[in-house]
Symmetry: none
DNA sequence: GTGGTCTAGACCACT
DNA sequence: GTGGTCTAGACCACG
């Protein structure tokens, strides 16, 4: 298993975009290394019970973006030209989500301290979840 | 003026929803008090160069939700029945945004400390922006 | 009629890519100006008897590329940020086609003079065709 | 060595077709003479790091077309029955590439003179490249 | 086995 | 009216 995607079919963000963004972030973090193979369109579609075209759309966008390369007859691999990004570059990818959360926090009348404490809890839970991923047979 | 909306027409979240959610949060925080008037559909549409029907749709949803009331000849006002919510209730409204950000941070390979520090900066900037809002005629 | 697409459904190059490339070149040449509206997905699909999703795919790629912008509820327009390109930049877009042709010419044992003369004829014919486009009712 | 193939595995045109078309053109030009041997499937596959089945497919197509013949124990040789074609016949094989380039040039807003000058440069470079082919061990 | 393309049709969301 | 998303299924092309 080269990569585990978290797909939530009923999420507000479309499935193909969930895939695109997860691949983007995992390439940025180096958890997807250059040259690494991605699961085949059909395999990923089967695994998450979604349509192959939905997966294909995501892969095509990532190819157009230069993050993935098509090895004809052999699936998609992470493009070789991407160096692992610096912390600052990775933080830039996180910025929009944090800005949105910050604005919401203030509109809700929460103090920065309250928002930060809550975010710390979210990070702890996410970390715990990542270490103990939900399995079909734990 | 009763309320300043931050409208980003080309944001991923649709305009009417930006309005709905901002009103929800500001009522929850008490920054929009019961009985307070909202800008008229036409005024808000003009100010942000958006379609009046879009504003109208947002107001109608908020009315159906019981957060706003239509006062004949006076436009929409904040409904009287809504008490300001507790900190915990307001944090619940913030939770989804923070969870999404937390998951993204981990996928990017950032440490919780790095993410928290960045969030602190976002809060500072948002706070500064809220106190010195950009004006057309300062 | 804002733009006339030449779509050849049975060409080797896929339909969506014919659209993408024609839009790219016409924006580069300025024949599609910034802010100009493109035909709606449905209109273009009807006109050429192709599936709306095929057109939509082309438009989405051009949006991802930054050449088009979505005006929600109002179709696609040429993005404002693109200045008219220099001759050199437009020639760069033509280069791959010319390089392929040059290599083929040499493999065919044609002299550069023979190939250039033939290309001149092609340009003349293409120019004549562009000035007298085939009409349903000429 | 009887023939140098230019294989670009990540080109839009599939590998087997690159081989087929190059052989076709070089037979038409006489640069591949009747009776001449082609590199073995294995040798060609190794040299360009491509799949032997891909080479085999190209050779089989050329055999079905009557351009190549299978000599037992000797690999493929150019069929004897093909006379070198006239200039006009060879130009006919070049026509599609030139027409595509001509149409693109006009869509890009280039003048015929600009396109022709650029094509002349491409021919020069291609000629230089053919005379001084890149070698692994010069 | 791999991905690509296109179709037909449904449903949703936004303005 | 606009585009977006997804599905189901077909067929093709490549290795």
């Amino acid at each position: 298993m080269s990569i585990r995607f978290d797909i939530l079919p009923s999420d507000a963000v479309p499935i193909y975009r969930q895939i695109v963004e997860q691949v983007r972030r995992r390439i940025a973090s180096g958890s997807l290394a250059a040259g690494e193979e991605l699961p085949s369109v059909r395999a990923l579609a089967l695994e998450h019970a979604i349509n192959p075209m939905t997966v294909s759309k995501a892969y095509s966008l990532l190819e157009a973006e230069g993050l993935l390369e098509r090895r004809r007859g052999m699936g998609m691999v992470v493009a070789a030209v991407r160096p692992t990004r610096s912390v600052a570059q990775r933080q830039a990818l996180l910025e929009p989500a944090l800005q949105a959360a910050a604005q919401q926090a203030l509109e809700l009348g929460l103090t920065p301290a309250q928002a930060q404490q809550q975010f710390a809890h979210c990070l702890e839970r996410a970390l715990a979840g990542a270490e103990n991923p939900p399995e079909n047979a734990p």
